[in-house]
Symmetry: C2
Subunit: 445 residues, 2 copies
């Protein structure tokens, strides 16, 4: 066996991911030493309760409640506590003590990223966070290094496994949102409090991290427009299927050519994705990140989203990178300088929409609706009615179902979000519209 | 504008990729400087004929026939000449003169990789080759860095766009091999001499590079088992479709647990892939690399295979990485040490097979065939006959078509390639078998 130099690795947190990381560090010690060029010695694991039961079989003497002392003696600190505090304080302490840090903490990076990266820059430390962006999918290095000579135009990501699992089962089995959520919770795919997933908070954190990296611009979490999937119901799913779409919760990070120069838009919402788009075939709890770059064209990165052992793979890849950097004398691959593009508010974004309306059954309805859209600068691409025995020419008349109510599905050309939302208010107020059933954005067409 | 240090970049070759690289280096100079932390000054382009017409609009004074002098003054050398010589000599010269090198030359790396990497190691230079593995798809950094803490079990890659285009059109349109090849040549997807693509030589070079990286083992091109797609015909395509498969030319790099320790197998051949496998939906000239890792699970990397501008994106990503390394004082991210796993010959590999036979129409045929397979240690998983009005119970009797010949399609369990090929010889010699129609491996089940 080669006689490698030893590097002291401190682990903060021993939950699902932390336990796996600790176990793999010990089980694969020889192989990791060959990869890293140094033995990665796990010197301690800081936890709140050292006597709590753990998933992995780890020696009791590794555990400590004293994170501060543990950090001081470490070359590499792995932060897997989650949450903002005490994770932030510990990470800054590790950076301050000269350690390189590895974290999977997307909440922390999305909210305190600039503070952490600046602290690292000042002392020449490196922050590794592959596991914070899309679980086990290697997306950080491709964006930071492989595409560094290219120009990313757009990222569309399915970055939350829970919501993809729910939407996929609603799509393939015609199941109800509530039923699937309950099953997902029973299977451990969804948390007891599912808010972070189903309301898009988790996806928004990842969107902020991906956009920051892709556009070399610090994107605060507050700048990410966010909508969850709780409004998606069976009729919307059915209508999407009939129209050749599937509904996915997307994180969209987009470069927008904006008159005076480029700007970016970062948003998370459920959107209609054409069935033939590669993202449409991402099933179950899987994640995928679809990247459109100026020269490279379309790329897609696909894999398991979360899960202790999958995320542990990404964390260990970062640990090996940090170790290689230590061996090389602490000189790392330089980060990009910043482009600092302006971030557009959601109102300034243009996309296509699908608007579904329930309208009264009387002549002239379509003309009225079309007039409102036209006044609102929203251009109609397609009109369809979903009533079963409808006329085959929906533009000629609006056919009624037996209850006297017809349903109009309007596909728009690209329109400004601001124009669209004002137009939807006017549609809702109109005498001929009974109800605005849904307004969905279309991505990937 | 930031006042960056200048790095001198020499380009060798100005074909489809080289012209794009040169053009992008100049067009995106400011942006690349921000990414790299240094201005990337294109100081010259070595070509055989400086007066030949070029795709990109480049100043005549950049061109030179004197590669040697150009290399001597360069910080970074980009080799896009292709072929073995003079590319090898120039690359070694660049390394010897202290430059970092970027190359897209898969033929050179697959045949002289160890020589080149060793020369670089000796002087502390770095060799970047993202564009040599799967065109524009970022696969090198994920394998080398992101998965460095994991253990790759298997790679299945669609790494040749021409053959995927041909097979995809045969599958989706029922077209003939020859017709599609001719059209692919007319469209520029296939070379006038298509041998390198359709016989699997190009895929084999990429397989050698991917396997070397994934298994930390030097894989010489001769160790890659290689079969092309020229034997794939319409009936085989139709039969595959009926059975729920699609035929893809796959590069398979596999870790095999082999009694005393791990070994690897690297092979390129057309294989049956289940329709629901993510690789089955890789259409047209696109490429994809499906990676199975112990902890990360299944990952897939998808994108355009070749193409001048796409490949240029990968090359420029490498140039930026090389530049960042220069700025950091020439200390790079260390390469992995070697695992040097043994490489299995194809005979020692186990996979599943689909064997299609034309047999005489007489009682006892199936018993005879089953006996030969059993003697050969090949276990039957499924038997089907493809004759239209066949009995629904193919195991009870072998139904005849009007010509008196029946067709048997046998799916096997995993069997040793050596056993399988000996068994196929015995089947071909058997009185009851008129013809062995096809033997295809099944991957991804």
């Amino acid at each position: 066996m080669t006689d490698y130099r030893r590097l002291r690795v401190a682990l903060l947190g021993a939950g699902a991911v932390g336990s796996q990381v600790a176990a793999l560090l010990r089980q694969h010690a020889d192989e990791l030493a060959d990869r890293a060029g140094a033995r990665l010695e796990l010197v301690g694991i800081a936890v709140r309760n050292p006597d709590a039961p753990r998933e992995a079989d780890l020696p009791r003497e590794l555990f400590t409640t004293d994170a501060e002392t543990l950090i001081l003696g470490a070359d590499i600190v792995i932060e897997l506590m989650g949450g903002i505090e005490p994770a932030r304080t510990s990470l800054l302490q590790a950076i301050g003590s000269g350690a390189d840090v590895v974290t999977a903490n997307k909440a922390l990076l999305a909210t305190h990223g600039p503070e952490i990266f600046e602290a690292a820059d000042q002392v020449g430390a490196q922050v590794y966070y592959e596991a914070a962006a899309a679980g086990a999918i290697p997306i950080i290095r491709p964006l930071r290094d492989s595409l560094a000579g290219d120009r990313v135009q757009r990222i569309m990501g399915i970055v939350n496994g829970t919501t993809n699992y729910i939407l996929d089962r609603m799509d393939t089995e015609g199941a109800d949102f509530g039923d699937v959520l309950a099953q997902a919770q029973a299977l451990g795919y969804a948390e007891a409090d599912p808010t972070a997933d189903i309301e898009g908070y988790d996806a928004a954190q990842k969107a902020a991290i991906l956009a920051s990296l892709a556009f070399h611009t610090s994107v605060p979490l507050e700048a990410v427009h966010r909508e969850g999937i709780t409004a998606i119901d069976k009729p919307m799913m059915d209508a999407a299927r009939k129209a050749g779409y599937v509904i996915k919760l997307l994180a969209v990070c987009e470069r927008v050519v904006n008159g005076s120069g480029d700007a970016i838009s970062v948003r998370v919402y459920p959107a209609l994705v054409p069935r033939e788009h590669p993202l449409a075939s991402v099933h179950g709890a899987n994640n995928a990140v679809f990247v459109q770059a100026e020269a490279a064209g379309n790329l897609m990165f696909y894999g398991a989203g979360a899960g202790g052992v999958q995320t542990a793979s990404a964390v260990l890849g970062d640990v090996v990178s940090a170790a290689r950097r230590h061996i090389a004398g602490g000189v790392g691959v330089g980060e990009s300088t910043r482009a600092n593009l302006p971030i557009l508010p959601i109102g300034h974004v243009t996309t296509q929409y699908q608007i579904t309306l329930e309208v009264t059954d009387q002549p002239g309805v379509l003309a009225t609706v079309a007039g409102i859209l036209s006044e609102g600068r929203v251009s109609i691409a397609t009109v369809e009615q979903t009533v079963a025995d409808a006329s085959t020419d929906p533009l000629a008349r609006v056919a009624a179902d037996p209850t006297g109510v017809a349903r109009l599905v309007i596909g728009t050309h690209k329109a400004l979000e601001q124009d669209l939302s004002e137009t939807v208010v006017r549609l809702a107020d109109s005498d001929v519209v009974d109800r605005v059933v849904s307004v969905l954005r279309v991505e990937g067409d």
